[in-house]
Amino acid sequence: MNQPPAEKLSGVGLGLRWEFLDEVLEGPPLAVAFFEVSPENYMRRGGYYPAALERIGDRYPLVTHGLTLSLGGTTPPPSEYLSELRTETRRLKTPFHSDHLSFGTFGARVFHELLPLKLSGESARRVADRVRQVEDFLALPMAVENITWYAHPGAQEMPEADFIAEVLHESGASLLLDVNNVWVNAQNQGFDPQAFISNLPLDRVVEIHVAGHSRTSSGLILDTHGAPVVDPVLELLEWTLERTGPVPVLLERDNEIPELSVLLAEVEKLRSVYERAIRKKEARLARSA
C-alpha cells in the first residue's frame, strides 16, 4: 500500500458532528472544503445517520478518522471490526484513513480513549507492523496522528518526534499532524513546539488538525475539543503550513458544540491563516528561485 491518496484534499474542513448534520444536509452549500467523520459512529449501523452521511458524501468530500483501531495495542483489532471498517471506508470513498498513535485496548477491554504509548523503538516497530497490516487489509493508505499525552507509561527511551519519525519510516504511512496536540504537549511538558515540528518528516504530512482545549485547576491543559482554537495554536498552524505547503486543515469540535454558523466563522478564520501561510511559502520559493 502506502500509495498517495487518489483524490487530494485541500483547504479547510470541519469534523462532522450529529449536532449540525441536518443543517449540512438540508442547507445551502457551505464553504467547507471537506468533512471528516469517525467511521465507528456509522459502522455496523442502519437508520438515519448512515443514510444521511451517504447524502452528505454526494455533496462534499469525506475523509475518515478512526478512534478505536488501537494501533499500539498488544493484540490486533478484531477481524469483524476491521471488516466493518473496510466496508465503511469504501462506502465513504475516503482517500485515506487515519487513526492515532496510541493504544485504546488491553486484551478484550476497550477504553474508548487514546492512551499514551511507551516511546521506544520496540513500540514504534509494533505500531508500524500494525499500520502495515491494517493498510493491507483496508487496501487504503493510512495516516497516523500524534496525540496529546499527560503521562508517559514507563521509561521514555526516545523523544516523541523520533518515535513518530520511526513509525512513519518503518510503516511508510503518512502523518496527520495535530498542531493543537503539539502545542498542548509543549505547554504541559515544557518544550518548544516549533522545534518539535521541525524534527518531524513534514513531507509526510497529509492533513493537519486543530482544536480547542481547556485548563484544569492544577494548570494541566486537556485536549477537550470543547473550545475555539486559541491564537498561539493558530500561529503555530501558520508557521507549520509555511513549511508543509497546502495540506488540508481540519477543525475538530467534539464538546460544547456551538451553532454551525459559529463553527463556519472559525473555519473562515482558519482559511485566512491557511491562505496567508501558502502565500508566504510561495513568496519564499519565488525569492529563492
Binding site: 437508520g47 476497550v110 503521562a151 508517559h152 507509561p153
Partner: protein, 263 residues
C-alpha cells in the same frame, strides 16, 4: 498497568504504596517501574477520569432516567462493571447494553435496586439499539404470508417484555413515580422514516410475535401461543392475528414470508 489504573479501584494521588503494589502485580519491568514511581501520579490518573467520563456520558445519552433514579447505586455498578469486565465493544453506543447484561443477574439479588430498574433501563436503551440496528440483507419485500412458512421481519425490530409499565413513565429526569406492576409487551421497530416506534401488544399477540421472531412458521406460532395461554384457536384469533400482521406490514416492520426455509 494502565488498565488497572483506569478500570480498577480508585487510587489516592499520594498513595505510592498502592501504586507500587499495582505496578508489581502488573509485572511492569524495572526501568518502567522506576519511571512510573517517579512520575506525577495525578497525571497518570487523568486517564482514569477521561475514560470514565466518556463512558458515563455515553451511558447517560442512552439510559438517563435509570441513572438519575439509581444515583450513587448506579455508580457502584458502573465501577463493578469496569473492574470485572469493562467494555468489550469497539462501538461506544453498545457499551450500555454490555453494562446492562452485566447487571442483569446482579440486580435481582440486590434489595437496594428497585424491581423495575432493569425494565426501565432496557426500555431506555432499546431506543438507540433499534435506531442504530444495521439493516439486513433481507430488508426487501418477499412473498405473501403462508401458514407453513416463517415470517420475515426487518432487522430493526425487538420484542420487549416487561413486568412493569415503564413505558408510561414521564421522560422527566426528576420524576420518581414508581411504575405500575403489570405485564407489558412492546413491539419496537424502526420505521422507513428512521423513527423508533413502539406498539403495545396483547399477551396473545406478544406470544405469537415472540415465536415468529424466533423463526417458527406462522401457523405453528399461532397454535403454540394459543396453547401456552390456553386460548382456543378460533376464527377471532385467526382474524386478530391477520390484522396485527397486516398492520406490521403497513408499518414496514414485517416484509412477508421468509423464503429461505419452511417449517
Amino acid at each position: 498497568m494502565m488498565a488497572d489504573l483506569v478500570f480498577g479501584p480508585e487510587l489516592a494521588v499520594d498513595d505510592r504504596a498502592s501504586l507500587l503494589a499495582r505496578i508489581e502485580r502488573s509485572g511492569v519491568p524495572e526501568p518502567d517501574r522506576d519511571a512510573l514511581l517517579a512520575s506525577d501520579l495525578s497525571r497518570l490518573l487523568v486517564y482514569r477520569k477521561l475514560v470514565r467520563a466518556n463512558l458515563r456520558d455515553a451511558m447517560f445519552s442512552s439510559i438517563p432516567r435509570t441513572m438519575s433514579r439509581l444515583g450513587p447505586l448506579f455508580d457502584e455498578y458502573f465501577d463493578r462493571f469496569l473492574a470485572d469486565c469493562a467494555p468489550q465493544t469497539h462501538y461506544l453506543r453498545d457499551v450500555t447494553v454490555e453494562l446492562l447484561d452485566f447487571c442483569a443477574p446482579l440486580w435481582p439479588e440486590d434489595p437496594r435496586v428497585p424491581d423495575w430498574a432493569m425494565d426501565l433501563a432496557r426500555h431506555e436503551a432499546v431506543q438507540i439499539e433499534v435506531g442504530a440496528k444495521a439493516g439486513g440483507a433481507h430488508d426487501e419485500g418477499t412473498g405473501a404470508l403462508e401458514l407453513d412458512a416463517p415470517v420475515q421481519f426487518i432487522e430493526a425490530v425487538r420484542l420487549m417484555r416487561y413486568g412493569w409499565a415503564v413505558h408510561l413513565l414521564s421522560e422527566d429526569l426528576d420524576d420518581r413515580t414508581v411504575p405500575e406492576p403489570r405485564r407489558t409487551d412492546l413491539f419496537v421497530y424502526r420505521s422507513p422514516e428512521h423513527e423508533v416506534r413502539y406498539l403495545e401488544l396483547t399477551p396473545l399477540a406478544a406470544a405469537i410475535l415472540e415465536r415468529l421472531l424466533a423463526g417458527q412458521a406462522l401457523g405453528a406460532s399461532i397454535r403454540e401461543a394459543c396453547a401456552a395461554l390456553t386460548v382456543e384457536v378460533d376464527e377471532a384469533v385467526i382474524q386478530g392475528s391477520a390484522r396485527v400482521l397486516a398492520d406490521l406490514g403497513e408499518r414496514g416492520a414485517l416484509i412477508g414470508k421468509r423464503e429461505d426455509q419452511r417449517a
